[in-house]
Symmetry: C2
Subunit: 338 residues, 2 copies
């Protein structure tokens, strides 16, 4: 336990507790020699600062909040993992909060902020674009960092990954495999990520020399079921597409089912690319080629900005690299007589 106090460290290093405090907080004006001595004492005694005392004496609470309204547990867990790792390193707590964007978000935020003293907040979609939430935070003057926002990007530091470029790469990948009849299963209309992915994909086709207008688009809603339906729509036709890009993995899994039911093999008869690298991507057979968005890393970066007090800096955009994960669901365009 925290039986060791700052006093013990001060005594061991033969300095005042204030100097130890300076070292802990990386404050300037400590001679290197002294700093080394203090750090040695800290390590030797296994000293861990008392969060409550620091919080009471200082202005910080050492608690970072993460606000969610996301139906996807995988996503939430990924954000938590990333943010948590950074928080733990810096002696911060991560407080998970849920806000229902649809139902008087302002009131919920007010209630939440009244109880929890937060040093900073991480916002992920869809709260990342909820004006009521941002307003509440601004009103209390609490710094926040947003993940993948679609709007008001100048309003705060922002962490993104380039969905459009990723989709573009997916298009290129399919094109290079020889596919020419290509379809996309898009997400619902209002969804910004979906729009980005579709646009990026089209752009990729065009860049590869194809005609973006010939990319067939079917609408889905990110569920397995909608992917299944879309799959049936697309694959039942005689000249069905030889490659399909689904805006998320669940819908891609739906295509798998539709293909199976129609007697089509993946990737021999039809190639499939998903998005998200969710667990289902490795559960299906053949494993799904997909795009991994660095969710945990983005959350970790957000936490870092907040902890370093740069949460309210001149708004800046940090971009983290996506990664296309090649697995077994994509193959050469089938050339057998047609």
């Amino acid at each position: 336990m925290s039986r060791v106090t700052i006093h013990d460290v001060a005594a061991a290093a033969a300095v005042s507790i204030k100097t130890v405090s300076r070292v802990i907080n990386r404050e300037p004006n400590v001679r290197p020699a002294v700093q080394t001595r203090v750090e040695a004492a800290i390590r030797k005694l296994g000293y861990v600062p008392n969060r409550a005392a620091r919080s009471l004496a200082g202005a910080r609470s050492f608690v970072i909040g993460a606000i969610f309204d996301n139906p996807n547990p995988h996503y939430i867990i990924a954000v938590q993992r990333g943010a948590m790792a950074t928080c733990r390193q810096s002696g911060y707590h991560l407080a998970i909060e849920e806000v229902n964007t649809a139902k008087n978000a302002a009131a919920q935020m007010r209630a939440m902020l009244a109880t929890a003293r937060l040093d900073g907040v991480i916002l992920s979609p869809p709260v990342t674009d909820c004006a009521a939430v941002l307003d509440a935070l601004d009103a209390k003057n609490i710094p926040y960092v947003r993940l993948m926002p679609a709007t008001a990007k100048g309003r705060s530091p922002v962490i993104v990954s380039d969905d459009a470029a990723a989709a573009s790469q997916a298009a290129r990948h399919l094109w290079d495999l020889g596919h020419r009849r290509i379809a996309v299963i898009a997400g619902p209309d209002g969804h910004s990520a979906s729009a980005l992915r579709l646009a990026g994909f089209r752009h990729g086709i065009a860049a590869a020399g194809g005609d973006a207008h010939q990319v067939r688009v079917v609408k889905g809603d990110f569920t397995f079921r909608s992917g299944l339906a879309a799959g049936h729509t697309l694959l039942a036709e005689k000249n069905h597409p030889t490659a399909i890009f689904a805006s998320n993995d669940d819908m891609a899994a739906g295509i798998y089912s539709a293909a199976a039911q129609l007697g089509l093999r993946i990737p021999d008869d039809v190639s499939v690319v998903g998005y998200d690298d969710s667990p289902v991507a490795e559960l299906v057979w053949p494993p799904l080629t997909t795009v991994r968005q660095p969710v945990a890393e983005m959350a970790a970066e957000a936490a870092r900005l907040l902890i370093e007090g740069r949460g309210s800096d001149a708004p800046h955009t940090f971009e983290l690299p996506y990664k296309m994960i090649m697995r077994g669901s994509t193959g050469a365009e089938p050339r057998k007589g047609r």
Copy 2:
């Protein structure tokens, strides 16, 4: 913000701050009249106690930990939701921690407990049965409550739901629909919940008048894929079972796929019952009849015990009711000529 301090409340109620403190902490020896007066002042001023100060002055940290090593995000989120709700009400934080049971859990626990001062810990499977974790907690004398433990139940307060009884009810349900050729897809051998569900199911069949030995059992590993494989194994036969009980929903979904591929309809040709009421249960078609384990409620109860300081009480078992959710995947045994 917490601009209002205990002083303000004391002044408003014309008592000493110590008396306000007594009211906040529900300490004895406060006259009802005074208590009412103080509570009125608290409400009127919107006073919220400063957690850091309480923690520093007192012995509590106001942080409850939840330790996970669970591959299932749905489960984790459910536990979090439940525990969180209780914690927030009582002004506690919930700290999420991850421990890899397989890899030197003792060291991980030591590292974790050195930094985080926890008033209590909630353990869910599989950490709930990890001796190294329990030992570490005992060593630090930190109270803990366990969810659904399989072993050492006397070692701490324990929260359970009766999986065996639920499986038994599922068996009864299938039996009453007329099914006689019934199969179970079990989980992996070491898994206690799986064993419980299987035993309960058999017991239910026997209790209904059937022969438990005739229940065909196929092993799975809780993944969709293993359910698919098991489904193929079971349904490819001529006299395939008319009803299948899967030990979890993911495997039940696998059966759906197998059935579809084999041209069998659910529930006309084969009835399916799952377990967990995970999101997939409502995603598949027809929606899956399944059993809901009150995960969030169990976690909430655990948090309550811990917060009320009964975490280290004479170990006691709290049982919460499961609920069988009837949806569309079960129907009468098919009597058409066979």
